[in-house]
Symmetry: C2
Subunit: 210 residues, 2 copies
Amino acid sequence: MSHVSLRLGMLRAPKMPLMPASAGVRRRGAVRSEEARTAVLAATGRLFATEGYDHLTIEGIAAEAGVSKQTIYRWWPSKSAVVADALIEDRLLPDHPVVPDTGDIRADLIAWVQSVIELVAQPGYEGLVRSLIAAACENPDIGARLNDALGITATVATRIEAAVAAGQLPADLPVEEFVRALVGGFVLHALERTEPAPDVAERMVRALLH
Amino acid sequence: MSHVSLRLGMLRAPKMPLMPASAGVRRRGAVRSEEARTAVLAATGRLFATEGYDHLTIEGIAAEAGVSKQTIYRWWPSKSAVVADALIEDRLLPDHPVVPDTGDIRADLIAWVQSVIELVAQPGYEGLVRSLIAAACENPDIGARLNDALGITATVATRIEAAVAAGQLPADLPVEEFVRALVGGFVLHALERTEPAPDVAERMVRALLH
DNA sequence: CCGGTAATTCGCAACGGTCCGTCCAGTTAA
DNA sequence: TTAACTGGACGGACCGTTGCGAATTACCGG
């Protein structure tokens, strides 16, 4: 999914070296447990999917991960920071469909929108979208990286650009805004909790391509 | 703003009459204090604007309203229900700009988007949008009524329909989806917390009108 | 018409419960 | 020796509920 897996998980080092990072000086004492770190992120992903973002608690994550609460507080400043890291490490999201390329941009977009709708309509996925939105509301990092982590923008944008190159779409089309509008439509649907009409995919694409 | 002010505030009557609502049977005992009800909604609006949705607490609302906590729990089942009522009674939202109608749909939309951006960019308004989104995530009623309460959909839709009638836009344009895409773009901007580029209004409209 | 009673509101205050974020003690690993 | 780990305990915030006394309002018997 996200191919730009930035490596984080060190948002607040409890004792930053303060040294000018000169080579040769090595920290003394035990090193951070990678096992604990991955256990926390994996537990966060599990609980996020089952309970949803707002029922997520630090104590719950610690228990699920088999880790002391202090270990979480040592490395992450807040619940939302843990979620942000879990998001970056692709532990929150299932794979999403790619945009087909048959040469017909309209049909391809409709097919993609339709498959995304079907994906989100699966039981359990409905609240997941809202959980992501809620997390993004709370934490700027999550909001900023959500696009990258989802990979939707990149996926759709490349297909759009191909259509632009093929002359099917105007050369000066603001691709970023186009994708934002498309994804934003989904977000509003998730917020409104409206049952999507069967032809909503076709309508959404027709609203954007005319 | 919202002209469809449904009257609610009675979401869970503690003792429903159970009588077949036959006329003539009248309740005994003290009647609900309208003063307390409006004080709660007004306090909710104030705190919502200043603190944001997630820092809102029942106890805080009660204190701000000068009202007992039980009085709130007697009439509303949750924090989000209070917010939903406050939203319906127009206590949460400032007025929003209307779409001008100069005959040029493109220029009108750009002007409207620009003024909305400027409105939201005002200090204090930035978090308000995210607070509304967060509230909608939590409560289906809020999500369902947010569109009506904002009045944005209706405002923009009428202008779009006028452009369709004038032949500037295709007759089969799915207006609802079009507006949803436009508003959804704003929502994503609010979630991403990106500083909007100066020409973002023009780009957004160009992404939708081509 | 008057006064009692029942029903229902309100405010105040307390309760147990959950989760927060912090701290300390003891153990383990580099 | 130093730092990360576990486990436990702490005060505090807020939750949602409960009990109490006082006020308000309708019904009912004198």
